[in-house]
């Protein structure tokens, strides 16, 4: 038994797919400011393909989430494809191998974060999705004694804060880095979609 059930993982992905659909235009608008105006459509294409997976055909949350990662890799297209793809693949591996409590979820989140850092050769402060995910993992760890639900709520809040704090940074990775100084003051699309992912997790994995 992993920290979450296959059904919970499926609910998370379904919720995120819906939220991405609702926010695709906004994400693409953000990417128009600092990139190539496709983050919303990239993520929406990817998550629609993920939402089409048959949850009942997977026998562990890890198997489902691995398939979701591979689906993102092949359908997103942009940098966010390998990044979110790596996140879910690493998350899935750690989840199936980990304990069935909040610490199992923490290990999975941390593995996902490390995967993105490695894949993107990026770190906190580069104005990327890491600036939302890294503080979220920290907050989850701090709150994990209070249970998964409280920890996820804290993580989602920390992600939003991290996303907002990154707005003032100069982008050092990805297309936005072409803008140099001019990326300052612009909200990062990847940090925004990452915050949505953690908010979605707080809604769907809270009872884990």
């Amino acid at each position: 038994m992993a920290a979450i059930s296959t059904e919970q993982a499926g609910a998370w992905l379904a919720d995120y797919a819906q939220v991405i659909g609702e926010n695709a235009a906004m994400l693409t608008d953000l990417d128009r400011q600092t990139g190539d105006a496709d983050h919303g459509s990239n993520m929406d294409r990817g998550m629609k393909a993920v939402a089409a997976l048959d949850v009942s055909s997977f026998d562990s949350p890890g198997a489902l989430l691995k398939k979701a990662g591979m689906t993102l890799v092949s359908n997103v297209g942009g940098a966010s494809g390998p990044l979110y793809g790596t996140f879910f693949l690493r998350f899935a591996g750690a989840l199936d191998d980990g304990p069935d409590d909040a610490s199992g979820l923490l290990g999975a989140l941390r593995a996902g974060l490390e995967g993105i850092e490695q894949r993107g050769k990026a770190e906190r402060g580069d104005k990327t999705m890491i600036d939302a995910l890294a503080p979220a993992v920290e907050a989850f760890e701090t709150q994990s004694g209070a249970g998964t639900s409280a920890a996820l709520t804290a993580a989602a809040k920390a992600a939003a804060r991290g996303r907002d704090e990154a707005t003032d940074l100069i982008a050092r990775k990805g297309r936005a880095s072409y803008l140099g100084e001019r990326s300052k003051g612009k909200q990062d699309p990847g940090a925004t979609s990452m915050t949505l992912l953690l908010e979605s997790a707080a809604r769907t994995l809270g009872s884990a």
Binding site: N75, G77, G81, T86, G120
Partner: protein, 135 residues
């Protein structure tokens, strides 16, 4: 002879670059060459699975050189190497060479049976001819 893979966000770009480079080498002496470019629905993007498949298609014991367009293609290519059999991944080299200029030089150099090291370094220096010409 090494194999060559072209990774680009644009299928049209990858195919046009290959067509230009292939002019330089008669068909019978060309190395194996595969393209992984564009998202499945034809829009711009790269797909790590497609890159892995392209590498497998041209794989050779002499190695595979992977040319890329933009920085973010590197992520897909690195992920692709993680999908490969580790023995194969070992002789796959991602190149920082300029896509078009590097591909022309890589194709010409590879067609002579040059080693992966040699082809890679020639491709990386592919801008020299143009730089000298521009003066």
């Amino acid at each position: 002879m090494i194999g060559i893979v072209v990774v680009s966000h644009s299928r049209a770009l990858a195919e046009a670059a290959v067509a230009l480079a292939e002019q330089m080498v008669p068909q019978e002496s060309r190395p194996q060459l595969a393209v992984a470019a564009g998202a499945a629905d034809g829009s711009f993007g790269t797909d790590a699975s497609a890159v892995a498949a392209a590498i497998e298609q041209v794989d050779s014991p002499d190695g595979v050189l992977v040319l890329l367009d933009l920085g973010s293609a590197v992520m897909s290519a690195e992920m692709a190497t993680e999908f490969l059999d580790p023995a194969m991944a070992e002789h796959v080299r991602l190149s920082g060479a300029p896509l078009v200029e590097g591909l022309v030089v890589a194709l010409v150099t590879a067609s002579t049976g040059a080693t992966l090291d040699k082809v890679e370094s020639e491709a990386r220096n592919a801008l020299q001819a143009k730089g000298k010409a521009v003066g």
